[in-house]
Symmetry: C2
Subunit: 355 residues, 2 copies
């Protein structure tokens, strides 16, 4: 009779990698399910670099009754394979701030584990992505979320474009602010607004500064951008919200919850790039139509004049091609302008073609 | 010496209304903070009608060591004043499924309490709004959220329009499904897709059916809409996700996590109205430029020809005004086309003006 071999197939069976959310603020935001899961892990890690939590390794150790090992960025990125290998023989838990799958790096870890045949478990937790409803803005009406990078890490235009695109779509924007936990650097509301000002955002824009949501001393303050920048929001983490069009209940909430001065809600300019172009061009055309003087020519148009005009068309068509993926309003303007010139030639009997 | 009067001012000071999130699935999704808060309330209610939780009043009683009273819709709406009055003398806690401020009715309760001078506290919890990242789709790229109503409760066009607007903006859509907890009626993925089919959504549309997210037996399945409708997702709650453009990591995740057949990811049509117009007009202009024949006129242009062209401009300008609020791409096209004609007249020396 063969001895029972504990190495096969039992040990070749995959064990588990468990991502355990710690929630919004500190270790008391772990759910009962999360704590139970953490306690039954063979080894427990904590990834505390993607957000600022008001907790410590000591607090996590005490709560989970484990010796929690801190992970660094590389442990989850280049060296993620070590975690996966360990999860082939042990139940490996990773504590992650907020709700654990908000960052791409954690989704990648799950995919890597599954590819290696390692079972995965996910325990969800509270997150800024839903807690932001505490501002009184409807969670249903948030559009894409953007992250404002530190000046040395990236340009601000992705942020301003994201805000603009959400406004076009009638949606609110949550702007997360960059941090470098290892250096203890956290972008503040004031710094973020400074970057938006430099990017040319209208200083009257309604914004909310939000600090420490989910903590006992959270602070939410709405107003015109430059007024919000004057507020001392205190300790990190901070974030910003740029509201889209508001329902009256949302306006009430901003006044009551976020102490928004009523004048900041009045006469808001919620125009998109498209709106701005349309209005500008319509006004320009009207002005021209009112003032223009036409002089019927005394001699026939020359071939040179016509070719000059066609070169002009080709130049705008090339612009349309150039802008069509990155700046669609400009691309559409350029091509429609080209059409107008071509049609003018047709209607004057100079060019013959069918669309 | 006056006796210490416990009724004034102490009792006139406001006490607290606390909204306590129970999280995504069952009572074990309460955070440690939420449980602590529930235990220190003088009276504890539970609102279990806005979502389906896998918990019972008995489980909540046992966990919180309180006798929890179930609230009905009217208790939070017409009769919300009773809760506020009670919170003037006692710490009143209300347990709410998911993250507690996702529904408008709970924001209203907070505003009402603040207006009555009652202090409020919020304890956040896990929520479908961030847990949906478990699908592998980036939580940063979700647009507005829509709710699919039961056929007897509302039309489907708000839902299909919401999906389309998010697609135009390059965003994913979370579609929550209607429920009537008191009747035990929960819309299924299959029923929701049937409604979308009736609304004329392309049957090849990529969708994800999601059931019981955060429960041990959750199920996520992606594919073409009609194939997803064939899946038996089991018990409620269900929801749907309609993905926008996908990053390759999101595609990988859909294959691995949501068992998406690769063919469902191919040949997706995700063009916005702007993209479609730009492409169509560029192709048209190129075609015309290649084939057009110009004939320099033998006689000077007449005043009648010029006025005909200006009438044409005025017609398109009126179109731009007409479409500027509802169909912006068409408005921009019309006005830019008008500019082209005006500039043609200028460049030909027929009209004199400055922009």
């Amino acid at each position: 009779m063969q001895p029972r071999n504990q190495n096969t197939p039992k040990e070749q069976e995959t064990v588990t990698l468990s991502l355990i959310s710690t929630g919004l603020a500190d270790e008391r935001d772990l759910s009962l399910r999360a704590l139970e899961e953490a306690k039954q892990c063979d080894v427990l890690y904590a990834e505390l670099y993607t957000m600022k939590l008001a907790t410590t390794l000591a607090a996590l150790n005490e709560l989970t009754e484990k010796s929690v090992t801190l992970l660094h960025r590389g442990d989850l990125e280049e060296r993620s394979n070590n975690l996966i290998e360990e999860a082939k023989t042990k139940i490996v838990g990773v504590l992650v701030g907020g709700d654990c799958l908000s960052a791409t790096t954690h989704i990648s870890l799950i995919l890597e584990a599954k590819a290696a045949g390692v079972k995965t478990r996910i325990v969800h937790g509270s997150s800024i992505f839903s807690a932001i409803a505490e501002t009184g803005l409807s969670i249903y009406k948030f559009g894409k979320t953007v992250t404002m990078p530190f000046p040395e890490k990236g340009p601000v235009d992705t942020v301003s474009r994201g805000i603009d695109e959400n406004l076009v779509a009638g949606l609110h924007t949550l702007v997360l602010l960059d941090l470098d936990n290892e250096k203890g650097a956290y972008m503040s509301v004031t710094q973020a607004i400074k970057r938006l000002t430099e990017a040319g955002i209208n200083p009257d824009t309604l914004m909310l500064g939000v600090a420490r949501l989910g903590h006992a001393d959270s602070l939410i303050k709405a107003g015109k951008m430059l007024d919000v920048a004057q507020v001392d929001f205190g300790e990190a983490p901070h974030c910003l919200v740029v509201p889209g069009p508001l329902h009256f209940l949302e306006e009430d909430a901003l006044k009551t919850i976020a102490h928004c001065p009523p004048e900041a809600l009045k006469g808001r300019q919620l125009k998109s790039e498209l709106d701005r172009l349309i209005e500008k061009y319509i006004a320009g055309c009207h002005r021209v139509r009112e003032k223009m003087v036409t002089t019927p020519p005394t001699s026939p148009l020359t071939e040179a004049q016509i070719h000059e005009l066609l070169d002009h068309v080709d130049h705008y068509l090339a612009d349309a091609e150039y802008y069509k993926s990155d700046n669609k309003p400009t691309a559409l303007t350029s091509v429609a302008y080209s059409e107008g010139i071509l049609d003018a030639l047709k209607l004057l009997g100079i060019a013959d073609f069918e669309w």
